[in-house]
């Protein structure tokens, strides 16, 4: 199998993901409206409730809306990662997953290509959000828009790989609500997306430890620092490691000999 074959396959998977996205305009608007609602309503309401002291990477006092913007970018990536996993469950139920799985390329490549294709679509949405957010004075320096790209891609890969792993474990489409309740919301709230962790530490040391261990916190922080041209290296390492773990487990989950697919078939 030549490298060009792999490249064409990846191009085909990305193109399909993009066409599906264009065909589902509601998905595009909800992906943008959700963080904008948080930005416009939640950030305005909590503007005077939550004081944000001067913490890196910020060099001065910042409005609350500026503080939560990186978390909202990570939220876009998380919802897309989960929606992508939802589409995998849908594909499996509808049969189109079979078309992907019988193509003559290694399974790990097919799953990784699907993951990366989803991330490309997510990152475009994240930039659309950043463009609209300028109306609310979320204005990182110009180089921040470039520096944030790898942070968005890495965070998207981690969250997409988690979605992929969940999709290998979800038996039916209906179970997706469970993912919302037990994965998306806890990950989002137990992170530094909405409040600085020193606030959390003052309230509960246990919750602080949970937030510190939460990979979503690291996605948020990597994005936050990257927007100001800085690298949060601990977060980068955590994200690379968790992406590798989630992706390995997802490939295992989709292995017909070992993973959950085999167990499901046996039931």
């Amino acid at each position: 199998m030549s490298p060009i074959h792999y490249l064409r396959c990846f191009g085909g998977i990305t193109n399909r993901e993009w066409l599906r996205f264009l065909n589902q305009r509601g998905r595009f608007f909800s992906a943008l409206v959700r963080p904008l609602v948080w930005l416009v309503i939640f950030a305005t309401g909590f503007h005077f409730v939550l004081g944000v002291s001067i913490i890196p990477p910020y060099e001065t006092y910042i409005p609350y809306a500026v503080y939560i913007a990186p978390g909202l970018l990570a939220m876009i990536l998380m919802f897309n990662g989960m929606l992508s996993s939802l589409s995998m469950v849908y594909d499996r139920e509808m049969g189109s997953m079979r078309v992907l799985m019988v193509s003559p390329l290694p399974r790990w490549f097919l799953l990784s290509a699907k993951l990366l294709a989803g991330v490309i679509v997510s990152v475009l949405q994240a930039y659309a959000f950043l463009a609209i957010a300028r109306i609310w004075e979320i204005e990182p320096p110009w180089y921040g828009y470039i520096a944030v790209l790898p942070a968005l891609v890495l965070s998207g890969l981690m969250l997409g790989a988690l979605g992929l792993l969940l999709s290998s474990a979800i038996r039916q489409l209906e179970n997706f609500a469970t993912v919302m309740n037990f994965v998306i919301f806890p990950m989002f709230f137990a992170s530094s997306a909405l409040y600085p962790l020193w606030h959390v530490k003052e309230a509960s040391l246990l919750l602080y430890d949970i937030c510190e261990a939460n990979p979503f916190t690291h996605a948020t922080e990597l994005i936050r620092f990257a927007l100001y041209g800085q690298l949060e290296s601990t977060s980068a390492v955590v994200l690379i490691a968790t992406t590798a773990i989630f992706l390995t487990l997802a490939v295992y989950g989709y292995d017909p000999a070992k993973g959950l697919m085999a167990r499901r078939a046996a039931e």
């Binding site: 064409r8 193109n15 079979r98 078309v99 017909p256």
Partner: protein, 247 residues
Amino acid sequence: MSTVPALSIQGLGHRFGPRRVLKDVSFSVAPGDFTVLLGLNGAGKTTLFSLATRLYAQAEGTIRVFGIDIRQRMLECLRQMGVVFQQPTLDLDLSVEQNLFYHCALHGLARRDAAARIAAEIDRVGLADQRREKARRLSGGQRRRIEIARALLHQPRLLLLDEPTVGLDIASRQFMLDHVRRLCREERLAALWATHLIDEVGEGARVVVLHKGEVLADGAAAQLIGQMRAPSMRAAFESLVQEREAA
């Protein structure tokens, strides 16, 4: 001409937990052969297809595609195979052409080659005018035709079809059967056609009867009817099943 079978299955077995769904299944399909895998629902046909296409892991027996063991060189085997699944697998939100380009990309075809093959295949199934239609707008029969066209885009030498005519009207069923038989005759494509519809066996066809995971008979339909001293394929099939149930 090659004497290596397009598909050779030897001693194939499979279990779902304690339940045995395939037991010592052996048969082969030669290039140019149209072979019907006949069995009632639950006979193990779809499991056999899933094993041959790596959707399930194979534990017992061997499956060879043009002499290559799928456990050793699965990807090479998949390149030789075109598959029409029992479940509809078109992406209904995409157009016919987009679905077909997607398949070509998965098989590594260049865009220009893909365009030429897509034009040729959808013309052969008589749906060239619908190429830009959303798959959702096509009838069940048209979707199945597109799935056959899609399975042939990468020019496989072995075509696996799992209950391809379920839910189709008589005209669509006949079209599908005629199309695949013609491909076998004219292009020496090997086809394994799984069905529970006995009238799809046809005169002169080769048939493998699968029942509760075991092969009950393997040979020309006419020969089988003669052996069972039955007036028709349906009667021969029923006698075979009754014999096995009584044993």
